[in-house]
Symmetry: C2
Subunit: 219 residues, 2 copies
């Protein structure tokens, strides 16, 4: 499978992203860019992560949605600092949006910055936001064929979180199939299987995240 | 809530769509444009619809995906004529793609043309494909807040099909909530609740579709 991404379109974006990455690394801040289809559970994953890590980490979340600030309000209710970016007709976040959104946020002492992208399995893939790690959340009810239909996102991700595994007994698809298909597209993917509803798999995910953020401090 | 869609961008598209609509109406052909997030069950809905209507209707399906032709193969296996459009980096179908895809398809005697858009709750909304009816499929595991986050798609749709209602007992959300929220965004929406897996609700959906296609013949 051959994927080409138009680099000229994103050249300005890439320079802003590189500057953000430089600033964040100087602060020893670890940054995730979380991508997924609408309703895969990105916000639920962030809420469940905050609940488990906020006694140890200072966390800031940028929420991207075309409209509304429902997700920012959910994240604030869970205890972290959150800002909302409304992209309106825009189908992805870009580095300038992140730069603007964070102008009013004090990042002193922040350990973990989570960027929740617009719900979209295609458009966000080409846009570097300055993150350390790209995470694709793929929920099991979406089926096992998404890596083949939207390969850019899976190919450019470092981590896949399979969410809603509690529903597996009621679905015509298994987490093993989805994992297998994603690894065919990108054999380097690190895969976690979780249910944000039941908490299954959250220990493994949060342990990995703590290790990544700690490694950032040591560099 | 105020939604503005940039009309100049889509002006050329609209003229191609108008021409397609004129041709299809002359053939007494009824056309659906089906939009949804990835994994909501658009293809499953089309398969289940073909299974129930193919002894009465001639059906043609255009499948839109960034990559792969898995959906075309599924639809062909269910007995209908199907062509695949791969949009690559493109996040929606447009009228020119439909015009090109149908060049090799004989529409003589075809009653129902189904256009399955790219899995994306935002980008397809602004692009007229010449359809009679726009359908948004919203699957219950995606949650009940999608109409507020992606209002363009719900506002411009005529029909919402809530899919995967068989999962309701295992989800933190109800079909009634999703219906309520969608109707707040667009009170004119006609709503069907189905499970393509169990067949629940398919009689109501197919009865409505038969009536619509029959009304096209009488005009």
């Amino acid at each position: 499978m051959r994927i080409s991404i138009e680099k000229s379109v994103t050249a300005l974006n890439d320079s802003v992203a590189a500057e953000l990455r430089r600033q964040w690394r100087a602060r020893q801040l670890f940054c995730l860019n979380i991508m997924a289809a609408p309703g895969a559970g990105k916000t639920a994953l962030i809420e469940a992560t905050i609940a488990r890590l906020q006694d140890r980490f200072r966390i800031v979340v940028v929420e991207g949605d075309p409209h509304a600030s429902l997700d920012r309000d959910r994240i604030r209710a869970s205890g972290a600092v959150s800002v909302q970016v409304n992209t309106l007709a825009g189908c992805h976040l870009d580095a300038r949006m992140i730069q603007n959104a964070l102008k009013t946020v004090d990042l002193t002492g922040v350990d973990l910055l989570i960027l929740e992208n617009v719900g979209n399995l295609l458009c966000p893939a080409a846009w570097d936001l300055g993150e350390d790690v790209r995470v694709v959340v793929s929920s099991l009810p979406e089926g096992a064929d998404k890596p083949f239909k939207y390969p850019e996102t899976f190919l450019l991700a470092h981590v896949m979180v399979i969410n809603k595994i509690d529903l597996e007994p009621f679905l015509p698809v298994t987490a093993a199939e989805l994992r297998h298909n994603a690894l065919r597209v990108n054999p380097q993917l690190q895969v976690f299987e979780v249910s944000c509803l039941t908490g299954d798999g959250m220990v493994e995910w949060c342990t990995w995240l703590k290790e990544q953020a700690a490694a950032r401090k040591e560099r």
